[in-house]
């Protein structure tokens, strides 16, 4: 085996092992508990009426959020048909940046907005499922709209043009664009559904008890990973089923050949009723942006109060930034190796896709519990890297996104360029340094940006694995949300929002500098 191949195989193996670690840990603990007779298997299969309700309500909430987001996304994106290419790039980058802002921050601003609205409309519910649905929908709206756009962009525009010659534009949307985009729309639905199903930060703020939160509560009460795993199994079955059902769609979404390339030479024209719905979709997104920024700025109070709350959280901020940097350093080489595996055809490629997608289907607390279990295994506790565990769980949760981004990047590169590098470069190091890395750089930069933004927002797994004396900024905000004053929370949330936007802007500026034009078109 060539040294290069051996390194790649080892990195891929390590990456896949890391992704499966929480599940392996949970299985080991489950088997030991079963052998010791301390696990109650009936918990997994015999649902009490409360748990059955929680499961139905949690998956129903996630389906409603994902479905509504998709519908709004379809309307919004049909309006984007009329937008010029350069403006479209800006809108898409803004959507991406907004999608990176943690869900709980959006939830906080909506909580404030609802409280303010209740002075005018006292009957408006401040807690419960309805307001949880609304806050989750609005928090995930930028992501839903962005993913819907990617799904639309996967449709070959020539097929749309062929339809427009014989039928109205609304008929073309209904009978050509939507059916052709269906697999990608399904994948977009699955992404949002999985995020919503595995998140508890938003519903918990509005007093809605969801299954993901109950897993955390169950573990806190029993301190038994096996029991928590069995408890989580019904939700895990649902999320894994959704993930497997949409796996080919997710792959199609990533492989779509027409991204950012084609625009209508003559934008479609729609009937008045459809235009009204489009205007409503645009209005909703605008409201979301206004509520987020105005809510945070108003609640943060004076600049002095803002800087005071930031200064008070400097240790957590430093720990969070260090964690984000570590996640990037660990994830990128592993994801790069894994992306090559995702490119493979046949069974091996399909298996790689399933492994990469599994962490997306596992609720965040369960990943944390799984890693704690690994650390508690005899002989491993000495090796267990306690202080960097928040980084490790973020790698497990978010490095798959980096692998998918790098997979997309590799598909855009002509393989002959790598062959040419092998022929003309002085040696392998020279080829990697001067050809491979520059070609892959846009994907690496985008991956780093995504990893930084998601790591800053991670809560569910970090809360479980975080070592004593160390807390991330998100943990501090989460604690403040329950016990602290609102101006402190808002100030810290504003800071995280600014950091997320800075990470996105940094990514975009770096890409512009590297590609010399609008990065998203070349990327």
């Amino acid at each position: 085996m060539r040294p290069e191949t051996a390194i790649l195989s080892s990195a891929t193996g390590l990456f896949f092992f890391l992704l499966l670690c929480p599940v392996i840990g949970l299985f080991i603990d489950l088997v030991s508990a079963l052998l010791a007779g301390s696990a109650d298997v009936t918990v997994a299969f015999l649902l009490s009426s409360r748990r059955a309700w929680l499961l139905i309500a949690s998956t129903g909430l996630a389906a409603a959020v994902a479905g509504s987001g998709l519908l709004i996304g379809i309307l919004f994106n049909a309006a984007l048909f009329r937008v010029q290419k350069r403006h479209l790039s800006i809108i898409l980058l803004l959507l991406l940046a907004l999608a990176g802002i943690p869900l709980y921050i959006n939830a906080l601003t909506w909580s404030e907005a609802v409280q303010a609205a209740r002075t005018v409309l006292p009957g408006l519910p401040a807690t419960g499922w309805l307001i949880s649905f609304w806050a989750e929908l609005m928090a995930l709206l930028p992501l839903s709209v962005f993913l819907t756009w990617v799904a639309f962009a996967s449709v070959d525009i020539r097929l749309v043009d062929a339809g427009r010659l014989v039928r109205s534009d609304i008929a073309v949307i209904r009978e050509i664009i939507l059916p052709l985009a269906a697999p990608s729309l399904g994948a977009a639905f699955a992404f949002v559904f999985l995020i919503c199903c595995t998140d508890y930060s938003v519903p918990s703020l509005f007093g809605a008890d969801v299954f993901a939160l109950d897993i955390f509560a169950q573990f806190s009460a029993s301190n038994s990973p096996a029991q928590a795993f069995l408890y989580a199994l019904p939700l895990l079955i649902v999320t894994l089923a959704v993930m497997i059902a949409c796996r080919s769609g997710i792959r199609t979404l990533a492989q779509t050949p027409n991204w950012f390339s084609a625009r209508f030479g003559n934008p479609p024209a729609f009937p008045v009723w459809f235009s009204v719905l489009q205007a409503a979709a645009i209005l909703l997104l605008t409201i979301q942006i206004l509520v987020l920024f105005l809510g945070l700025i108003l609640a943060a109070g004076s600049p002095g109060a803002f800087f005071t709350s930031v200064a008070m959280a400097r240790d957590e901020l430093a720990y969070s930034l260090l964690t984000a940097v570590l996640v990037i350093i660990i994830s990128l080489p592993l994801a790069l190796a894994a992306a090559q595996e995702l490119l493979r055809p046949g069974f091996r490629g399909a298996a790689a896709w399933i492994i990469v997608l599994i962490p997306l289907a596992v609720p965040a607390p369960l990943i944390g519990i799984g890693m704690i279990t690994i650390g508690n295994l005899p002989g491993l506790s000495a090796l267990y890297p306690v202080t960097i565990m928040p980084a490790i769980v973020s790698v497990i949760r978010f490095a798959p996104f980096a692998a998918i981004v790098l997979f997309i990047q590799m598909r855009f590169i002509d393989p002959l360029l790598f062959d040419a590098a092998a022929v003309f470069a002085r040696n392998r190091t020279d080829a990697w340094a001067r050809i491979h890395l520059p070609l892959l750089a846009p994907g690496l930069v985008v991956s780093a940006g995504i990893l930084a933004a998601l790591t800053l927002a991670e809560l569910g797994a970090t809360l479980i694995v975080s070592p004593p004396g160390h807390a991330t900024i998100t943990m501090r905000i989460y604690n403040y949300l329950h016990y602290g004053s609102s101006s402190d929370v808002a100030g810290l949330c504003l800071m995280v929002t600014v950091l997320t936007l800075v990470a996105c802007a940094g990514t975009i500026i770096t890409l512009r500098w590297m590609t010399g034009s609008v990065p998203i078109i070349n990327g």
């Binding site: 097929l159 339809g163 427009r164 014989v166 030479g265």
Partner: protein, 217 residues
Amino acid sequence: MIVLDNVSRNYGSFPAVDRVSLVIPDHARIALLGPSGSGKTTLLRLIAGLEVPDSGTITMNGRLVSSRDVMVPPSERSIGFVFQSGALWPHMTVEENIRFALADLSVAGQEQRTRSLMARMGILPLGKRYPDQISGGEARRVALARALAPGPATLLFDEPLTNLDRPLREELLVLILDAVREAGSCMVYVTHDEDEAETIGGSIIRFDRGAIQSDGI
């Protein structure tokens, strides 16, 4: 009659079609001949209403259909278009591809027209197949049947025989010319092949760098 008056279309600073004026009489057969990237396809798309001109106007039978301010939707121009790739909808069967263009007819009318066109094109046994289950030559026949289905006044062909071997190209070109004659439509046929342009048997317009270099109308 289609009249293009001083029509221009730019992509950024690149003039794809540059101040083109052209009259296409009813029932005309026109071959638009030119090298790759000369703007032929953009000109067809402008006529079809798939592109908005940056300047100039296009009228059809005296009605203004394209200008910067006025755009009649492509579906209201009575135009059939055979794309270079065929552009068959992969989620529809051959039959459904053709029937999609016949929404104005009753179900029985759609059925009858679809079967008659499929028989004319020699693809009757392929009705239930999907585009990825037929050959390249068969796909071009389906694309031709779909373009002819609503009985358009004008048929536009954008290098419809690209990537086919010569005997098949010759066979399909004869089929296209017969079908256009039977339909009584006007025809604009884009090609970069001199022989193909000659075979069309009408006027040959030489097109390069977005402009007409010479025409035989």
